[in-house]
Symmetry: C2
Subunit: 457 residues, 2 copies
Amino acid sequence: VTPEAWLDANEDAALKTLKAFCAIPSVSTDPAYATDMANAAAFLASHLTAIGLDHAIVRPTDGHSIVTADWLHAPGAPTILVYAHYDVQPPDPLALWESPPFTATIRNDRLYGRGVSDDKGPMMVALTAIAARIATNTLSVNLKLLIEGEEECGSRNLNLFVADHAALLAADWVLSADGARWRADLPTTTVASRGLCALEVTVKGADRDLHSGRYGGMVANPVAVLARLLAGLHDDAGGIAVPGFMDGITAAISLDDVPFDEAAQAATLGASALTGEAGYSALQRNWLRPTLEFNGIWGGYAGPGSKTVIPAVAGAKITCRLVPGQEPERVAKLIATDLRRRIPHGVMPGVTVDVTIEDHEAMPYAIPDDHAGLALAEAVVAEIEGRTPLRVRMGATLPMCDILRRRLGIDTVMFSFSTADEDYHAPNEFFRLSSWRTGLRAWVTLLGRAGPGRTAS
Amino acid sequence: VTPEAWLDANEDAALKTLKAFCAIPSVSTDPAYATDMANAAAFLASHLTAIGLDHAIVRPTDGHSIVTADWLHAPGAPTILVYAHYDVQPPDPLALWESPPFTATIRNDRLYGRGVSDDKGPMMVALTAIAARIATNTLSVNLKLLIEGEEECGSRNLNLFVADHAALLAADWVLSADGARWRADLPTTTVASRGLCALEVTVKGADRDLHSGRYGGMVANPVAVLARLLAGLHDDAGGIAVPGFMDGITAAISLDDVPFDEAAQAATLGASALTGEAGYSALQRNWLRPTLEFNGIWGGYAGPGSKTVIPAVAGAKITCRLVPGQEPERVAKLIATDLRRRIPHGVMPGVTVDVTIEDHEAMPYAIPDDHAGLALAEAVVAEIEGRTPLRVRMGATLPMCDILRRRLGIDTVMFSFSTADEDYHAPNEFFRLSSWRTGLRAWVTLLGRAGPGRTAS
């Protein structure tokens, strides 16, 4: 029996398993779901064993467990490390779901439920293709599986886990079942993601909110100081004004060949227009240029009506998205230095400014253009979908790619068949069943061609 | 019997009445206390009748009632309008009170309780002195009483009430039992207060918070736009940069003769130093110069850790304290115009900025230097306290003074004997019993000298 025939016979059973997996509310960010997280890991280990993988083990970390397994019966052949995650976002707001979030439900050739698109559906695509190859004795590549439970809360324990298990995880390259494709109307392969660094600024004046009449004119206003400090981080044209921030960044490439309708994108966001750094298209700004965003600001009274206080404290959260050539810690320090340099000590002697670099950072990542695994994935997609996928980047951050490259020296090929419009992280998350079917065939095909002589790291 | 002897005999009973009055939690800002507010007004009207005043009437407004009364049995003599308020601040935070807020308690020659200093104690000083004069048939001036119940929530209905009752309230001048004295170590008379205007600025970008990775670089950040708009309202030296803002303000007078220790004041506020507009002392800045303060700012995520969003909206509350020469509506419009002029339409086409002028304004106020009522009050204090009071101003706002001048054409003499350090608006509000005794004698003396030939409006 061929793997394709096996798929035809077993696809419905795999979908049933996916539904059962989705019934476990494996929400990693909320401690109330701790038992469900453990149940999901156990379910997964059991399923990995059932489909013929060896050494399926639930491995504890300081947070949620990581599940590993392997199939190493192709001596001399390359080893692929398959990455996925079994945790999901919280289901809130519950009232907006049209069917219960943890009862995966098919409507209009789509499967609806929390986690179906991110990442249980794409993971089950990978596992079912692996099952097809093992069941038909046609797997000619070695496999290792790394399935974490903290992707939705920052992959906090992954870095240390990978460092501690470098030999266990050693492989030629990484094939990721996570990382949604850009759009539904165009086959794409994501080849790069941006990095991240984070800071918090706190400005303190008096030791309590003061009556703005009785003390107004005597003391510094922390909101005023904060506004000036933040305003100075950008120039008049909206560009980043922090000295040294852009150092090391190579010139942005043209993306004119990537179809993108800026007006349509603005409309979906409810904004009258897209905007940003001068001289770049919206796509260049999102994929190839760094950003310095204010994620939040606070201070004083924010309720209805007026309260005539001089706030005692004001603060803001800053994160940057980084591109190749930038290193998170260096960039965060440049921002901190710039902010501290501009504290108006002379004008505002009564305030103190505290700038903290947060423990939340990731390197930008890009797979080498000529990576053999990438070329293989593209060839498979071209064959299955009838169209060579377009190489695209993403503005978001995937800490896992850099962690695996730094710790194991290997690159990651994104091979998820979910799509960015599938409302993951939102109510009514769905996974296109057409993507389920396409993904199964693509993974089976890729696994069949990843053997000796086909790819090199 | 002399009024002074009457006082000696009746002072303790008056203090008992004050305690009973303070037991009624007349909190005007919280609808939960509506019945208590009505009870306080009824208590007051009953007491006004009991001490010999006529026409004590609880008069409804759109908010809390105003209590009026009169004693008009001195034909040919001047008429004084006595002002006070019967509402108090909320008692929160309750846990910090050393004795129950609505059980007035004497410790160390101080009366502790909510409202004892602001304004039930000073009001009862005035009423007891009036009682002494009426009981001893020595009142030779006509009196009208205006006691409102909304001072702690902005005197919202006072303006309309005074306009509607101009004949009822007509008088030669106003003697206020509200308006704390500046400090405990120095007899002072407050002769001016600052005005107020208020605005709110709201900046909107996309129609929801956006993922700062997936959209960062494509859309404007409302916090960034807000920070630039706010920062532009002041210059690098901390002065107000709004064009036209300072127009009409006369040069600040010297206050070198007013004892004031800037370092000691900074220490009480927990600030390392006082600061503000260059070229002026802290006291000049607080009494004689206008301010433009940010009372609150908000936008995006303000919780623990980081949340990588581009906020959909950011906003700030602004209030200004105004000095003679400035008119609230004109100043508010100048600020709104400046903010709107600087909206970065070209750089940030995706944002909208909404600037609202709030319905919360008051004119600055100053009593004429040569006001006869002021001279009388100063002479009485000099006699009772052995020291001519120093004329001082206040940085805060008293809407009542301007309302009565505009509506009735008369000026207000501040004659409260509470002190600004008595923790009104805070836990453990207290009223010095020494001030109670001094105040009673001062009011009795003033009422005895305010008759025909003594003062003119």
